[in-house]
Symmetry: C2
DNA sequence: AATTCAATTTGTAGCGCTACAATATTCTGC
DNA sequence: GCAGAATATTGTAGCGCTACAAATTGAATT
């Protein structure tokens, strides 16, 4: 900074202001400073700025995986929103709760302005740390009982919507594919909603099969086999993601089963494959882009001192009906 | 840090050493310090540490997109390697060269220990900045003419391998799908290799169709249509990614074409879908995990002062033969 | 008991920047 | 031409940490 200041014939403070508070500096001066900075390859040291001001223009987001495209639009929403507001987004990947806790520790070490997490299940140590440091936290993809702030949609309502659609379309032997073990509420909430909804319609809710979350397409054949051993005349299947649904479709192809005549297949997430595969997969579209935008918006508002009363944003969802049901 | 020091009855310097140089501190003392730090929710301020030491244990990686799973194993390789060496990885997403340049500026502002990029095409301003700051840079997925260091494999050799496989299998009317416009060398290198290789075999190289990189599965039908209008009797097709190949497979399904009898389909990247779809897609497996590992390894070595002579690592590839060819 | 040496701990200075208050400069209106 | 306001610029101190050198401690040796 010093050398830029000398080269531009101003004080270091003016260089600092040119970057951080452009309107405080006379336009002509600012342009000269920025040009010389560019020539000298000077980029303000964020670490020093952060230390001096106690503020940060970097927001961290932890996402569970990039294995599937589910988070593409979520990240895009975050990215575009922060860019519009002069912030920067950095990402950390975490496949497990331990990794999430480590990622949170890194982000806190970096003294980011806020942290966006996915889901509402976190390690106790991470919760404690977040609480103690008081950093703004948004949980995305969930919409109740926020730890701090939350943005999401009701997976219960969405489950109900998809079950009701299948019932209206005349399916009666509906199977449900869930994830086994410790997985996020955004998955575990669906099963009770399914059971309640099919029983309300006077149908049986015993067609349930749980698979390992780690599997992608491969889960499809496994799930189909599992459900068929419960009821060989299964006529519809609700999958936890479009990837699993596509796996089921592939397996139907191998078996020579017509979709949806022999079996209706519903997915979740409205991934790109849902619209491109034949038949297209009926799916829950979760407004991921808006979720990303709102997550950043909540953090930026909090960082600017606006403590909002309403700390949960419901971005809703909609059902995309396609040929698979 | 001060309050941890007081609570533990040691000097701030001992707290610092407990975190940064554990072996310098007596085990008993260290454990007490770390335990009190945990109780107090103290996480060392990376900004201050970075400022004081001029060193950073954070490495930044810029990846083009998480839309497809192509970079999953690459990121996993990076992640696991840095964790083993006491470093941290942060990710930035960039869909365009401008976004990449912005991401690089952010990472430089953060004074990261090194930067991993994908491909060898970058904005001039970004190149200049990287050169001037001297931060260690690895370009991944390319393996020649590194800007600083590089880790990748030869897309030319891989193209040759896949073309030769098709020729050996008896296909003669081979079509090639490429990307139009300004895309990375890791794509543009393939077309000349394709042309050279088919001509060497005495075949015609006029079956070429370029598509927009932005399209995913949807590119498949477009490409197939385009190539069929060049040669309706096309008997094999080489796609730029497995996603496009899957799109072609979907389209073949709609047309009632048998794969590989009517048309052989080759993909690239060995994404999960390649092994799960029926028929499985013959694909180029790029050893992405090893690429990620090596990228981090090069940066960490450089950060530790070991200037290696060999700045390019070839992680190779292999062809996975499946039923689609 | 004195000396040596290694292991452990501790002050001090300063990293590059920004908050804040103070100062310098330019612009109004009369 | 001048007071007063508005705009633009500048010192100073300090953010939280670590490099480095110096100091302390304890055990082993003479």
């Amino acid at each position: 900074m010093q050398s830029v200041a000398v080269a531009a014939g101003v004080s270091p403070m003016t260089v600092s202001n040119s970057f951080r508070y452009p309107q405080r500096v006379h336009e002509e001066t600012r342009e000269r400073v920025l040009q010389i900075a560019a020539e000298l390859g000077y980029v303000p040291n964020h670490a020093a700025g952060n230390l001096a001001s106690g503020q940060s223009r970097v927001i961290g987001a932890v996402i569970p995986s990039i294995k599937n495209s589910s988070f593409y639009n979520y990240v895009r929403g975050m990215q575009e929103h922060v860019a519009d507001n002069g912030y920067q987004l950095i990402l950390k990947l975490a496949d497990s709760l331990e990794q999430e806790a480590a990622a949170i520790r890194t982000l806190i070490g970096l003294r980011v302005a806020g942290i966006a997490l996915v889901g509402d299940e976190h390690e106790d140590s991470a919760r404690t740390l977040l609480k103690k440091t008081g950093v703004p936290v948004v949980e995305a993809w969930v919409h109740r009982n926020p730890f701090d702030m939350a943005v999401g949609y009701s997976t219960i309502d969405a489950t109900r919507a998809i079950v009701e659609l299948l019932i209206v379309q005349g399916y009666t032997r509906i199977g449900f594919v869930g994830y086994e073990g410790d997985v996020s509420h955004r998955f575990t909430e669906r099963l009770p909603a399914f059971i309640q909804c099919v029983e309300q319609a006077g149908l049986s809710s015993h067609r349930i099969f749980l698979i390992d979350q780690a599997h992608g397409f491969g889960a499809g054949p496994k799930a189909l086999e599992g459900l068929c051993s419960i009821d060989p005349e299964l006529d519809a299947i609700i999958c936890p993601t479009d990837i699993v649904a596509a796996g089921v479709l592939f397996e139907c192809g191998r078996r020579g089963w017509k979709v949806p005549e022999r079996l209706a297949v519903a997915g979740w997430g409205d991934y790109e494959i849902a619209s491109e595969i034949t038949p297209g997969i009926t799916s829950v579209h979760p407004h991921a882009y808006e979720m990303g935008q709102n997550a950043m918006s909540l953090i930026i508002e909090r960082a600017n001192g606006n403590t909002r009363q309403q700390v949960t944003v419901d971005t809703g969802f909609h059902i995309v009906e396609r040929a698979s049901t």
